[in-house]
Point group: C2
Chain length 109, copies 2
Amino acid sequence: MGITKSEIFNRQQNRLATVLKALAHPARIAILQHIIKAEACICNDLVEELGLAQATISQHLRELKNAGIIKGSIEGTRVCYCIDEKVWVQISNEFSGFFASFTPVKNCC
Amino acid sequence: MGITKSEIFNRQQNRLATVLKALAHPARIAILQHIIKAEACICNDLVEELGLAQATISQHLRELKNAGIIKGSIEGTRVCYCIDEKVWVQISNEFSGFFASFTPVKNCC
DNA sequence: AGTATACATCGCAATATTACGATTAATTTA
DNA sequence: TAAATTAATCGTAATATTGCGATGTATACT
């Protein structure tokens, strides 16, 4: 099949999985780290920084943007990307909530 | 191509991406939530709980196991799965570190 | 021994992802 | 206006993922 059966899972599970998928690629991790490090925004620098083709970087940026993690604003011929603070905090909280939901048990394995 | 160029990213980026990928599916999120909720371990219950075929659940469990997130111990004809506490904490810390690395800036977008 | 139970694995079909060259669109500079 | 710059999109090839039926394997029950 190859198609995820989203309808059998709840909204939270699908949402979490979607965000995780957006983050689940080394190039996209690297892109986010660079955006964070550069403090300000980025664009074509990433192509030189990462050593991937421009089309590939653009595709990764689109995925991050679709997930709402980053946002871009047009500045002349360039596009300035940066972290969407609101979403970042929200995701961060969802994640800590998820990880905090587990508390070690002794009676198993 | 369809193949990720892992060699151009560092160990941390690849590691983070791998773990994220293992978590990035609603079925695997649901499996983890069920294991956590049931406190003890699980096995065939997941097939009835989630409504996916046994082969499919088994495949998802293998991915979680490969990522080190869960571990299973054989108990007769059954296999008891549970969260690997050590790895869970480690991942949790890596994630909070990653999210904490961003601090809001004003001069952009 | 023979049957039942619980999982893992194989093989397949449908679909998604990754990467890139080529092209297009918009803006800036000469 | 022409050329240059920047980035999005299209099309395509290679590969990965998702899901399942069928089959294999190991242990438990009778």
